[in-house]
């Protein structure tokens, strides 16, 4: 039995050393030096807002929008928490990028055989019982790896221990149904480039509302169309028959 893992990112502890990105690049064998924004070669990056560093990365939603929209099922939410991507399935429609409420997936635009790239929460390390590379590398404990339930408990404890230090919210606890990456901050999230208007129900529900009507539309529509055809067709047959009878009657009449 595996419990759902998560990352707790406490923005008040982050000093912007970029060790998370360096460790990430090493483990995932991504080329290039320090990058300031997410890219196909940077699964995580630090944004700065007046001295506050914000770590951007895939949020690993509990009900991931990317996994629901992908026509070929290239994304999977694993039981341990990571949302992983199977490049061998991908057809490159980029619906995942269009749909992601956090604008996370990045595309290899310069490649003629491009992949979608994003953080995979070190799922291979997790399978071996190891934490993510970024949380291991973080020198201040700003990124902490653990069980999601316990990290949420701990986040509330931190907020209660120092009232007024944090804004009273764990970003990611409820957003689009909850995510496996949780944030604590002393600055209101909307000032740090977070989308705070996100709904709390998972987005895939929206498209499912439409998709789940398909069997009904097909069966009712099919029967209705067939019915209409039967009626109009029958009407024509009856008309033809009456015509014939009429003609015969007239013929009989003329013979007599």
């Amino acid at each position: 039995m595996s419990t759902k893992k998560a990352l707790l990112i406490d923005l008040t502890l982050c000093v912007g050393c970029n060790a998370c990105q360096a460790a990430c690049k090493e483990v995932n064998k991504l080329p290039g030096d320090e990058e300031k924004t997410l890219s196909p070669t940077a699964y995580t990056a630090l944004d700065e807002y007046d001295g506050v560093f914000v770590r951007r990365m895939c949020q690993h939603c509990d009900d991931p929008t990317c996994a629901s929209v992908c026509p070929v099922g290239a994304f999977t939410k694993t039981a341990e928490g990571p949302v992983v991507y199977d490049v061998d399935k991908c057809i490159g429609c980029r619906y995942c990028m269009q749909a992601c409420p956090f604008q996370v997936p990045r595309y290899e635009w310069s490649s003629t055989y491009p992949r979608v790239q994003k953080c995979v929460m070190c799922h291979e390390r997790l399978a071996q019982g190891l934490p993510t590379a970024c949380s291991e590398a973080c020198p201040t404990g700003a990124t902490k790896f653990g069980d999601r339930d316990e990290l949420i408990k701990e986040a509330y404890e931190r907020m209660n221990a120092e009232p007024g230090k944090y804004v009273p919210k764990i970003y990611g606890e409820h957003e689009v149904g909850g995510t496996s990456v949780l944030y604590l901050s002393s600055v209101p999230f909307e000032n740090l480039g977070f989308h705070t208007q996100l709904q709390t129900t998972p987005l895939p529900q929206l498209t499912w509302n439409a998709l789940s009507k398909i069997p009904g539309i097909v069966s009712v529509g099919g029967v209705m169309l067939f019915g209409i055809w039967w009626i109009t067709n029958r009407r024509e047959e009856v008309k033809k028959f009456e015509q014939r009878m009429n003609d015969r009657q007239q013929n009989n009449g003329s013979e007599n």
Partner: protein, 399 residues
């Protein structure tokens, strides 16, 4: 005569220029990648190829299933003379949607994955299957035209035997597919500007596609009547225009009720780019053509009919582009305007559509009904008169 020749020469030159530019762009797209050929970005991953080639290509093909339902399901046989060119338009539209997708997909050679790798929760999965199945249905619906040319009567008989289930399947697939293009965008409630985002987008897409499909039937009839110097079925097109005007009315009402239900009517007066684009789309594509086509005088006038149809088609294209591009720009934080490469590939695909239609119509019996047309109309009129007479006789007898 000379004038006709020069205009035809002009269009030939346009076609050659567009095809050449398109071929070069095709090279850039496939040998240098999407980054080099498009203005797409991580913030704006879907551009004109999805907005125009796919959304409009499919929508404008809606005449195919609308007319098929009218002729074969509702058994209104007098529309038969225009069914073949309409099915051809729909078929070419759908084939070209697939061509457009091949440009847009990052890994086009993997397009077949949707056949074996299923994700029924994905709208895109539904779209993929509808495109595949409806392309097959359209191919079968159009096949008799090709088979007739080669006198393969036995094969035609087999297809005719399954024609009703085929037509019903086609109507169902189109219904699903037209609406599912709207469902595609249900997943972006925060990203799309509220004037366009609505839980009823699937319905809006469906109804507007029927209106645009009708307009396309009129548009296409006019063009082919000029290109092939044949008569215009104005009496049929008038009735198609009546379907169109009803659909426009239904569409406008639904849109208004939706905006007022969501209490965002004031957004219609907010001075910003999205508002202007919304009004442009509504005035050009819905309000003015509705007023025009609602009048019998306009419907029976070829120019009035043609102009109104073009307005509906333009408004429809604007609507899809607004949903795909204008409505998404604000949230994405970046601007998007298609690159020359994107434009030229789209123009190339449209040009291929026109050329393919021209040659198929020229060498295959697409407009065969036309020759017997006058006779048929006369027959229909006589038959109709006879019906009325027989009914009135029956009434008399009963009395």
């Amino acid at each position: 005569m000379k004038k006709v020749f020069t205009t035809f020469g002009f269009w030939k030159i346009v076609a050659v220029v567009l095809l050449t530019a398109g071929l070069y762009s095709t090279y850039v797209r496939f040998f240098e990648g999407l980054g080099a050929s498009t203005n797409l970005s991580d913030q704006f991953p879907w551009g004109i190829w999805i907005g125009f080639d796919v959304l409009c290509g499919v929508g404008l093909a809606a005449g195919g299933f609308t007319l098929a339902a009218i002729v074969y399901i509702f058994n209104i046989k007098r529309f038969e003379p225009i069914i073949r060119p309409t099915i051809l338009t729909a078929f070419l539209g759908y084939v070209l949607v697939v061509v457009g997708l091949m440009f847009d997909l990052g890994r086009p050679l993997q397009i077949w994955h949707a056949i074996i790798m299923w994700n029924p929760r994905s709208v895109m999965f539904e779209v993929a299957w509808c495109v595949m199945l409806y392309n097959t249905v359209l191919a079968l619906e159009f096949a008799p035209v090709i088979l007739e040319k080669f006198k393969l009567t036995r094969t035609i008989k087999i297809i005719k035997r399954i024609s009703i289930p085929l037509i019903i399947l086609g109507v169902l697939l189109s219904t699903l597919h037209q609406s599912s293009l709207g469902s595609l965008y249900l997943i972006v409630p925060e990203k799309m500007y509220p004037l366009w985002y609505s839980a009823y987008m699937p319905l809006f897409f469906y109804v507007s596609a029927i209106a645009a499909g009708c307009a396309m039937i009129i548009f296409e009839s006019f063009l082919s009547s000029r290109a092939f110097k044949r008569g215009l079925e104005i009496h049929l097109l008038q009735d198609i225009a009546r379907v169109c005007v009803v659909m426009l009315g239904v569409y406008a009402t639904m849109k208004f009720v939706d905006l007022s239900d969501r209490k965002i009517l004031p957004l219609l007066l907010e001075p910003r780019f999205e508002t202007y684009m919304y009004w442009l789309e509504a005035i050009v594509g819905v309000i003015v053509p509705f007023i025009l086509l609602a009048q019998a005088k306009v419907r029976s006038n070829p120019t009035g009919l043609f102009v109104s149809a073009i307005m509906v088609v333009c408004g429809f294209i604007m609507n899809r582009m607004n949903v795909a591009i204008t409505g998404m720009e604000g949230w994405s934080g970046v601007g998007y305007f298609p690159s020359l490469t994107e434009f030229s590939i789209t123009m190339m695909i449209v040009t291929i559509g026109f050329i393919a239609f021209y040659f198929i119509a020229k060498y295959f019996p697409v407009f065969t009904h036309e020759e017997h047309h006058e006779k048929e109309v006369a027959h229909a009129a006589v038959a109709w008169k006879r019906d009325i007479e027989s009914v009135s006789q029956m009434v008399e007898v009963n009395n």
